[in-house]
Subunit: 200 residues, 2 copies
Amino acid sequence: MTPMPESRPYHHGDLRAALLESAERTLREKGVGSLSLRELARETGVSHAAPGRHFKDKQALLDALALAGYDRMAEAMEAAHDPALPLQPRLTALARGYLTFATENAELLALMYARKHEPEAAEQMAAAVDRTVGAFERVIADAQRHGEIIEGDPEQLTLFTGAALHGLAAMTVGGMLDETAVLAMTDDLIRVLLHGLTPR
Amino acid sequence: MTPMPESRPYHHGDLRAALLESAERTLREKGVGSLSLRELARETGVSHAAPGRHFKDKQALLDALALAGYDRMAEAMEAAHDPALPLQPRLTALARGYLTFATENAELLALMYARKHEPEAAEQMAAAVDRTVGAFERVIADAQRHGEIIEGDPEQLTLFTGAALHGLAAMTVGGMLDETAVLAMTDDLIRVLLHGLTPR
DNA sequence: CCAACAAAAGTGGCAGCGTCAACATCGGGA
DNA sequence: TCCCGATGTTGACGCTGCCACTTTTGTTGG
């Protein structure tokens, strides 16, 4: 039970990465509310003030987490993006990609959308958002050029599509829907988005 | 500058209501992050432990706030609901109602959707959600009976509509859109929802 | 009419948190 | 080699939520 001197080196090696990793696990397992710098330091085996060397703020750590999240999300979206498919399945695949990422990273997503970020981080975020939204926008603009989608500002049409997806994700995270249900209705959602609620 | 004995009565009168009111103001002005029971007590002129008499927890106070929010939201929706209108303007009016409430009560809305509520509060919330969603669902089911909307589970179609709206609201709250822009595109959103992204 | 009781408020204390300043240790470049 | 900057540690401060205990107050039954 004695702490076992352990002779851990004075310098950790890559504390910053270790903290981010540990933080992401805690975020996933216990939520952002029970994420404490001191607890993090304890888990990582460093003193309570050590994290301050790498993140000036708790918010700075959360920002870093969110930024990493955007990278992973962009990857997931790009992986789900198959330009060879026709419009409807192509959109459906993208939608599945987003919804899967969103439900599997609910707490992280909340952080990403949080609007509390410090100014410098906010810029990087904006760029990261574009990477994700861009995937959708390309599909829309593409299809528009082929006459498969109505005319109008493609940015706005993309926004509507994204809003529907994000709303569904938010409802899932909020507990109104369960994860399998939301994936099961993705097909229907895209169909409604493309063909409308009114009969043709 | 002296505190001025003030001879405030030992019993406040209606501390519970005073706390909720003060909390809502702070929530609106400084966000949930800077909402502290002690600060609240100070503002209200009572001791730091007095709030504990009326809310067993900080979460209990947040739950009460959220519950009141649901009531106000339901009122706003019912006020925006005009059954005399034809389908499209009727939906548009409801959408405006929701988006207006959402942008004007961003922090509160986040609280309402937070999924951290204690079990008893959660039940009341579910009922409150139904009051709001119900407004939309009635419109959809109504129109379906008149053949103005495609067949299919009205609950699911309502969900899609609600998701699009909520997504748009979330983006506004998140700072991607500004308040006037979102209201300006409400018409377009409903049109796309009803008639689809593809040409007819 | 008043004693007793319960509800409502106050007081003090605890542990945890984020942050800061001052000090310690280490490794790498002048 | 030495020294300096980056990294880690220690200790402290004020804040927070929460708890146990005491005090005040209004109400109510005898």
